[in-house]
Amino acid sequence: MTDEDRLLPIANVGRLMKQILPSNAKISKEAKQTVQECATEFISFVTCEASEKCHRENRKTVNGDDIWWALSTLGLDNYADAVGRHLHKYREAERERTEHNKGSNDSGNEKETNTRSDVQNQSTKFIRVVEKGSSSSAR
């Protein structure tokens, strides 16, 4: 993994920093780089804690609850609270999406059967027309 791949994109970091500062504020390049490194360290720190929890519970997959738990354990209660809400919304959105997909799949299947029957009807009509044409030409 290259050095750039090891860090979050600096453009995104800079954009976020600008977003919260007054319009007259300037940010030095080294400040952006420092925050970029801080964010990367933060990811490793939280992931490590979540991963240890999974290891203790004999699980191989780190999930959202583990991340939430890690933030709470590490004393970042404000972050944990906001992330908990985000997780709740994310799961709701996912559930809605799966339900929507299921619904669209069902309606898609119905449409498909209808179109198939239409195609069959059209093809039989076409065959009849061709047969008529050939019989008339034979006469």
């Binding site: 970091v13 920093m17 500062l21 080294e30 933060f42 990811i43 490793s44 992931t47 240890e52 933030l71």
Partner: protein, 212 residues
């Protein structure tokens, strides 16, 4: 300078009561602890966190590429597999960390400008260093950002009796009781004492008991 100071609140969105979604049952929102906020800037930070709690966030929009986050997570050899929701939450947490850290650093920039009586509008590495030093929750960034020795932490230290001491106080526990008999130190509440303190206290008390 006054302009800067006046501007500090404009970037902190004020949540309207209609926007706040009902909190999910298993993540009950708790009152924000005062000790997690820098004391001179509590109102700004409090507004920021209230806004974060109340924001109807768009779960489809992510501040960072999830593939990059997943790569960083998997750079830890202990991590085998990661669900789709984990990088989404990490992205959200990183976004909050960056906003939080930037805001704290900027408040330090403004404070520095006020003290030196010059207009300062550039955020530097030293401001970030000061911001991380000011709060205990950023101690994990010690390897990335060297702690600023000139800055005193803003987090009040909790006394074992529950009394809040002024910021920057460090509690040391004597190793001997008043009779010169070795006593086991009480359980630490929040942060252990500086390594030198306990030894000095032990030496003084031990010396006086030896005289008796």
């Amino acid at each position: 300078m006054e302009e800067n100071n006046g501007n500090n609140n404009h970037y902190l969105p004020q949540p309207s009561s209609s926007q706040l979604p009902p909190p999910p049952l298993y993540y009950q929102s708790m009152p924000l602890p005062s000790y997690s906020l820098p004391l001179p800037y509590s109102p700004q930070m409090r507004n920021y966190w209230i806004a974060q709690m109340g924001n109807a966030t768009d779960v489809k929009h992510h501040a960072f590429p999830l593939t990059r986050i997943k790569k960083i997570m998997k750079s830890n050899p202990e991590v085998n597999m990661v669900t789709a929701e984990a990088p989404v939450l990490i992205s959200k947490a990183c976004e909050m960390l960056i906003l939080d850290l930037t805001m704290r650093s900027w408040l330090h920039t403004v404070e520095g400008g006020r003290q030196t009586l010059k207009r300062s509008d550039t955020l530097t590495r030293s401001d970030i260093s000061a911001a991380t030093t000011r709060s205990f929750k950023f101690t994990f960034l010690g390897d990335v950002v060297p702690r600023d020795p000139s800055v005193v932490t803003d987090d009040p230290v909790l006394h074992p009796d529950g009394e809040v001491l002024p910021p920057g106080t460090v509690i040391g526990y004597p190793v001997f009781d008043c009779n010169g008999v070795y006593a086991s130190p009480p359980q630490m509440q929040e942060w252990p004492a500086v390594p030198g303190d306990g030894e000095e206290a032990a030496g003084e008390i031990g010396g006086s008991s030896g005289g008796n």
